[in-house]
């Protein structure tokens, strides 16, 4: 059913009893052309673009839990394309452009809100770095604005401008960036993929990858063996575990990242604000809650829960930036497992096994990449060739000496 104003009126008149489920509860067939492991944003987007753009219709998405139960339902919903390196910026800008057309594309309200993302600077060195980053963005055709202190004070009056250690001197603003409704992205892609014939199989965990003559022939799952022509892994924090089934070791460590939401408030924070003295970021959801987070906890973990000391640290950063936050009550917190790569940038690539494809290493920035990740991964799977904007995001880049290290932190995943 196509959603429209007309469909809302029509269903209202029949008591809203005739709405159909947004996707079928599919049972696995014995064989698919492509199996995607992981029913999160990236897996579902890959399935959608495979079926819609690249004409590969016989596709299954296997999800071990319920749809969108991983990081696509656990992030802070920020979308932006303000990266610096030429290996990243065209990719994320491609994603930003897909975001801008996504609601029309999916016929689904993903509540994209281009409210602007502003990253604050606190000293001259940071100002220089942001000018450089802004220029790098302009070179890729992406608008960036340097907002100086006086102008910023008019835009965002409630910041702690005169903090002794981290005075706020200004910020780098990308106006087109903003937020989107994370669950709706998963549901919208699932509905879109389903409409193009993709089988979405929930509660179906992959337990082994079967190989014959050096290529993948299928996967053992909790719902039995399923054969496939090509296997695509989009398992985020569990990428190392899934690829281990094919004897692949990855340049990935799984870390835990926490996020928080406060009680609902009247509209007060109009942008996404990122603190430059730490890693704190905050925005206000349409329900009114302030959604925020900061650094990863710093230790490897597969548990979807974090440490209280990190929670305290995040709150301290927030109150340093916005003193008024100290009066707001936190409603709940949660955590997700991040596939931290060795340079902080993702991997969309083939593997040493011919028909096995890999999509991982999203660190804590995977949500904004969802559309481009899906598109580029689908391109790779369908054509066996890398999409031009993802050409730097290769698995073998470390061996070749082409790490894409935005933070300049080196091969130390808990520092990215």
């Amino acid at each position: 059913m196509r959603y429209s104003a007309f469909s809302i009126v029509k269903n209202a008149l029949s008591g809203n009893l005739k709405w159909k489920p947004q996707w079928r509860q599919a049972e696995p067939k014995s064989h698919y052309d492509v199996i995607i492991v992981g029913g999160g944003g990236h897996g579902l987007a890959t399935a959608y673009y495979l079926a819609k753009e690249f004409g590969v219709k016989n596709v299954a998405v296997l999800e071990k839990g319920y749809l969108g139960s991983g990081n696509v339902g656990r992030n802070t919903t920020i979308v932006r394309s303000n990266y610096m390196l030429p290996g990243n910026e065209p990719f994320y800008e491609f994603s930003m452009k897909l975001w801008e057309g996504l609601e029309r594309e999916l016929n689904y309200n993903v509540m994209l809100s281009q409210r602007g993302v502003i990253m604050l600077y606190h000293n001259d060195g940071q100002r220089d770095a942001y000018i450089r980053r802004g220029n790098a963005m302009w070179m890729e055709g992406v608008a960036a604005e340097l907002i100086e202190r006086d102008q910023l004070k008019k835009m965002i009056p409630f910041l702690n401008y005169d903090h002794a250690r981290y005075p706020i001197l200004g910020g780098l603003l990308q106006r087109r960036a903003g937020t989107a409704r994370h669950d709706a992205v998963a549901w919208g892609y699932a509905r879109g993929a389903d409409r193009h014939g993709v089988d979405i199989i929930e509660h179906c965990e992959v337990t082994a990858i079967r190989r014959e003559n050096g290529v993948v022939s299928g996967v053992e799952t909790t719902k039995g063996f399923i054969g496939c022509g090509k296997l695509a892994l989009a398992a985020a924090g569990n990428s190392s575990r899934v690829s281990e089934m094919a004897d692949l070791k990855l340049p990935i460590e799984s870390h835990v990242l926490q996020a928080f939401v406060t009680e609902g408030l009247k509209p007060c924070i109009d942008h996404v604000i990122v603190y430059g003295g730490g890693h704190f970021y905050i925005s206000q959801s349409d329900k009114g809650g302030l959604v925020f987070g900061a650094e990863i906890d710093g230790y490897t973990s597969y548990a979807q829960r974090g440490n209280l000391a990190t929670a305290e640290h995040v709150m301290e950063e927030g109150v340093t930036m916005i003193p008024g936050l100290s009066r707001v009550r936190v409603l709940r917190s949660w955590a997700g497992v991040m596939d931290m790569s060795m340079d902080g940038s993702p991997i969309i690539d083939r593997t040493p096994i011919d028909n096995l494809y890999l999509n991982c290493g999203w660190c804590y920035g995977g949500f904004k990449a969802t559309p481009a990740s899906g598109y580029c991964f689908a391109h790779l799977i369908a054509k066996n060739d890398t999409h031009p904007v993802a050409r730097f995001l290769r698995l073998d880049r470390f061996a070749r000496g082409y790490a894409v290290d935005e933070a300049g932190a080196g091969p130390q995943p808990n520092l990215h």
């Binding site: 281990e244 070791k249 973990s301 548990a303 470390f398 061996a399």
Partner: protein, 92 residues
């Protein structure tokens, strides 16, 4: 994550006194080892879900490097050994 770590030199201390360096199961290759061996050592991780060995430095205490054995899923800490003692025991 456990909130307390038992340092073999300083006793029970809060986890925030320690800095985490990373996987301690890796063995540094010889300087003349192949590029592949060095690549695997620097970039590739087993990333287990379960028991793991990690280098932790007690930066706000004795400043010794320690080897912490803990579980990445339950967050239990099983043992904490001094780094030098661990290396001797394992013939490194």
């Amino acid at each position: 994550m456990a909130s307390l770590i038992t340092c073999p030199h300083c006793g029970v201390r809060p986890k925030e006194e320690f800095a985490i360096r990373g996987d301690a199961s890796l063995v540094r290759p010889a300087p003349t080892a192949s590029d592949e061996a060095w690549h695997d050592y620097v970039y590739v991780r087993t990333n287990p879900r379960g028991r793991t060995l990690e280098h932790w430095q007690h930066v706000a205490g004795c400043r010794r490097f320690l080897v912490v054995e803990r579980d990445t899923f339950t967050h239990d800490v099983h043992s904490v050994t001094d780094g030098a003692a661990f290396a001797r025991e394992n013939g490194r």
